[in-house]
Amino acid sequence: MVNEILYSIQNALISGDTEAAEAAAHAALAAGLDAQSILNDGLMRGADIVGQQFEAGEVFLPQLMFSARALKAAMAVITPELKRLGGEGGTGRQGLVVLATIQSDIHDIGKNIVSTLLTTGGFEVIDLGVDVPIKRIISAALDACADIIGCSAMLTTSMPFMGDLIQTLEAMGERRRFKVMVGGASVTPEYAARIGADGTAPNAVQALQLARSLMLN
């Protein structure tokens, strides 16, 4: 019975069915399943499978985005129970990421895929969109008590603003509060190190791994 319920949650995630994911989460709670188990063995397992399928080229971006949407809906169902079990820290999330395409750049496909994979990977993501001024990114990160600031730039002439963001954090005395990950087609590990970022990744799957590793440090 328990396995069947968890399997239905996984399936709802894999098929990106928001209503089914919500219903399955409700059914799991009603059946007395532990919210942490629903999260780890149902939702996260399903999200992992979709992530692996995306990495292997077996599913495409829409399926990944629908899965993220289904995950958010199911999380809304179980979060109150997670909080009740674990207090304020018991939301089940791996961390909170404020994400943006840096000011002057409007390219967002890579950033959107990272956002989706972070979400399906258990992070809470505040996606500020494109062409986001540095001040707004920092302000959002401070307001939300973010763990990670993630910013991207595809244009080489927008990349310097990512360095400006880090320098601004330092000038404000807030650099140590956040891990900063940067990305974009022309961003290399050397560039990330040069501007003082905590890391970069060549693709969205590795960006999720990077975010997870940053949360451990």
């Binding site: 971006l61 959107n112 310097p160 022309s186």
Partner: protein
């Protein structure tokens, strides 16, 4: 329909959030249309000889454009168009466009499938950042090739040793300096009137306005007006288009639908590409169209998915709505690698036989200054040979598959295959390829001759 109508619809259209546009409109509709029109692709048939397939791709793209329209990201409004408006737009598309001036003038035209008229060769690597010291010689390396008809270029990421930042003062300097170098390069190779697609260092309105002067971009030149992924425009790019219209310059509508993106696999990417051109014809005020599908992981236009998309989209327009379509060649590999030449040859023969003009090469994914005039020469030679010999779709498909066998391994390399910088592949004093690079070129010319494609150099 004039641009004022586009401005009006950008504010009067229905509101929708960007996420819902992406998922509910683009992804869902595209998925339904791929099924409805039974669009499938075969990894072994990258140059299909299937007129019905090309027609279904066109019909699906048209239906997508009519069903959902375009999205203005700035206003978060949907720009809808009546079918008759889209049809009128297609009927009024330019099928002939003069670029450049004087003895260097060239006429772009709507090519046909297996057209005996040779494609025009537009050389350069748009978007690739260059150190200032390499910019002029790199452009000269393309412009000096007799087979090249039109010129484009990378960007200046630094001027006078300072980083260029979009929307700030140095964007103006970088844009004008880029164009100054371009004019110098054309003058030095004796082709001052060559048409340009330029002001690549201009991202915001600052650079764009700074370039709209006959000393920089002339009315006989063009600049890019991109459609954003997927089926989106924004006020910034509408402003770019309007600047061109007011100044009297050409707009190159750029469409980079993603294979593996919101449209799903290659068929969905093809449908979005067709819809992008149909809509961009109106929203981007495009005088001609630049087809540049992107692979979601590998970027390059030489992947099987993107090659198939280029084939069916070019065929779809050639059969249903003749248009001037220039297709980008953006190989994964960079200078001084054999694979760059194999990728270039495959892309060039496929584009040519399907009815496109050639632009490139954005070697090393267009991310590094690792491109040279030599691969642009090969691109042009292959294109001219394909049209001259009357290569068939089936023959081109077989050759493309043979070339894929020689380069496809590079997509498994974690860091790509970027090759070397321009100044390591070319002698900067003579502006000729270093012997090793010239030798690789000779080898591929022989190889292509061996399989039956006779380049003029062979």
């Amino acid at each position: 329909m004039d641009y004022l109508e586009i401005l009006d619809r950008s504010t009067a259209g229905a509101y929708i959030s960007e996420e819902n546009w992406d998922l509910e409109k683009v992804a869902m509709t595209c998925m339904q249309l791929v099924q409805k029109f039974d669009l499938k692709w075969d990894r072994q048939t990258l140059v299909p000889n299937d007129p019905a397939l090309a027609d279904r791709v066109f019909a699906a793209g048209f239906e997508l454009a009519a069903a959902i329209g375009a999205y203005n990201r700035s206003s978060e409004r949907v720009l809808r168009f009546e079918r008759s408006e889209l049809e009128d737009g297609l009927k009024n598309m330019k099928i002939s466009l003069t670029m450049g001036q004087g003895s260097d003038e060239r006429v772009l035209f709507a090519r046909k499938i297996m057209d005996e008229r040779a494609p025009l060769v537009w050389a350069g690597n748009p978007g690739a950042p260059h150190p200032e010291a390499l910019f002029l010689p790199a452009v000269m390396s393309w412009a000096q090739e007799p087979i090249v008809d039109l010129i484009t270029c990378g960007t200046l990421a630094e001027v006078d040793g300072r980083e260029v930042r979009t929307g700030e003062a140095l964007e103006i300097t970088a844009t004008r300096r880029e164009l100054t170098y371009l004019h110098q390069a054309l003058a030095r190779v004796g082709r001052p009137g060559m048409g340009m697609l330029a002001a690549q260092s201009s991202v915001s309105e600052l650079g764009d306005l700074a370039a709209a002067h006959p000393a920089y971009l002339r009315p006989c030149d063009a600049h890019l007006v991109p459609m954003l992924n997927e089926l989106k425009i924004d006020n910034r790019n509408i402003a770019r288009a309007v600047n061109s219209i007011e100044y009297g310059m050409r707009n190159g509508g750029l469409y980079c639908a993603i294979a593996g993106g919101l449209g799903g696999d290659a068929p969905g990417c093809a449908v979005i590409s067709v819809a992008s051109i149909i809509l961009g014809n109106l929203t981007n005020r495009a005088d001609y169209h630049i087809l540049h599908p992107i692979h979601i992981r590998h970027v390059a236009t030489s992947t099987r998915e993107v090659l198939w998309v280029e084939s069916v989209v070019l065929q779809a327009f050639a059969r249903n709505a003749p248009a001037i379509i220039v297709a980008d060649v953006y190989p994964k590999s960079g200078a001084l690698t054999r694979e760059l030449l194999y990728e270039t040859a495959a892309n060039a023969m496929l584009i040519t036989v399907n009815g496109g003009h050639l632009e490139g090469c954005g070697s090393a994914d267009g991310l590094l200054p690792n491109a040279t005039g030599l691969e642009a020469r090969l691109m042009g030679e292959v294109g001219k040979a394909v049209s001259r010999q009357g290569v068939t779709l089936e023959q081109a498909n077989q050759w493309v598959l043979e070339l894929l066998e020689k380069y496809e391994h590079i997509f498994k390399l974690p860091g790509g295959y970027p090759g070397v910088r321009f100044d390591q592949a070319y002698n900067l004093e003579t502006l000729q390829p270093v012997p090793a690079w010239a030798g690789m070129y000779e080898n591929i010319v022989e190889m292509l001759c061996g399989i039956g494609l006779k380049l003029s150099a062979s």
